[in-house]
Amino acid sequence: MAWTKHDYEDIPGTYVFDGKHAHGSYALNKLLFSFCEEANRTEFDADPAAYCDKFHVAGKYKDFVLKKDFLGMLRAGANIYYMAKMAIPRGTSVQDAGAQFQGITTKEFQAKLLAKADGLVDKIKQREGYWNG
């Protein structure tokens, strides 16, 4: 038995959500998916450890959930969209999470995003047919 290798696996700082990740973290993602229901969110908040047990989320996966270690969860195979169901209502936006992944503040993360668009209006002017205000 072996997981087939993929040419995306060497992209740095990136965990492509494929069969290998989805298989290993199925219980974890099922727990995260359950947060679509408000009653489940309430039940989790009342006793996170018991909620993990109910979903058979154990070992390192359980530790990551209890510590809200989003990078750990991601590396272990959590899907980013499913993780957002846990993070966002608890005050961690996708930008906060992005900053955590890089070990910087959210403000620094947002400044890096803004810098990606430096010169945007000039670039658009140089191209044909773009709306520009």
Binding site: Y8, I11, V16, D18, L74, N79, I80, Y82, F109, W131
Partner: protein, 281 residues
């Protein structure tokens, strides 16, 4: 007979819905992004399509990872929005057209696109936010909708080329329907962004602009890239842009480019609006 009048693209990120819900469209951060939707809104008002086929991806509302269809078509008379885990109030239900959907399903399967048919389908922000950005938010929506969900969440996901071919098959399916309907195709999602991992925050403005220009006038250019190449260049979530190829494949080869609008960053994302018109309308 039904005819496709054109296609429109839009980002579908949650922040867009939040900005609309909180009436932030004219705040400095959002103004340029939302102002660039006006020509697209005007085009839709002018041509008044009857039905919008929304090509989008589910982010874990309707589908869980126990069953992940590559392509799934809504075949119901209504589609409900629901809580995605963020405790937001759902928007009003959307009206569908089951008879048209089943015709599309039959014609797609005939053309060897063995699509998953869904008689119940909850629609999430990927579906809702482009509609809100293009038509506004309504208690009774001014457009009949058909959801066409593409798996871009759990790999293997279909290639850009496969999405383009689905669009070509969708065109034949629409044009063989007996009712006089004006149909618009929405390609949603993208453009470059990566939410996950230490590489989060990636945006590639140059590649996004090139992609917009090429999808408008030379869509086969985009089909040369493998999914690995697209993710390497535009981020893991940037792979959503392949869904624009479904829209583009459903249009004629030489379209009239009505509108091109690009803005970045919106939240973590490069956001593009295209309005492409079939010239026979």
């Amino acid at each position: 007979m039904a005819k496709i009048i054109g296609g429109v693209t839009s980002s579908h990120i949650p922040a867009v819905g939040n900005a609309i819900a909180n009436n932030l469209q004219q705040e400095p951060y959002w103004k340029r992004f939302f102002d660039g939707y006006k020509p697209a809104q005007d085009w839709l008002q002018k041509h008044k399509p009857d039905v919008a086929i929304i090509v989008y991806n589910d982010h874990g509302l309707n589908f869980f990872l126990d069953k992940v269809p590559t392509f799934a078509l809504g075949c119901a008379d209504t589609y409900d929005n629901a809580d995605e885990g963020w405790a937001l109030k759902p928007v009003s239900p959307f009206k569908g057209d089951a008879q048209f959907s089943w015709h599309l399903a039959e014609k797609l399967v005939e053309q060897e696109f063995d699509i998953c048919t869904c008689q119940e389908m909850k629609v999430d922000h990927g579906f809702v936010n482009p509609i809100r950005a293009l038509w506004g938010t309504h208690e009774v929506w001014p457009i009949t909708t058909i959801p066409l969900a593409v798996n871009v969440v759990q790999h293997p996901v279909p290639s850009a080329l496969r999405c383009y071919k689905l669009g070509q098959a969708l065109r034949k399916a629409v044009e063989s329907y007996s009712e006089d309907l004006k149909v618009v195709i929405l390609g949603t999602g993208g453009m470059s962004h990566q939410l996950q991992g230490e590489r989060a925050g990636l945006i590639d403005v140059d590649f996004d602009l090139e992609t917009m220009d090429r999808i408008a006038s030379d869509p086969e250019w985009f089909t040369q890239f493998s999914n690995s190449e697209i993710m390497r260049r535009t981020g893991t979530e940037g792979i959503e842009t392949i869904m624009w190829l479904v829209m583009r494949g459903a249009l004629q080869d030489n379209v009239k480019i009505v509108h091109k609008h690009y803005h970045a960053p919106i939240s973590n994302t490069g956001a593009g609006v295209l309005v492409l018109e079939n010239t026979f309308i």
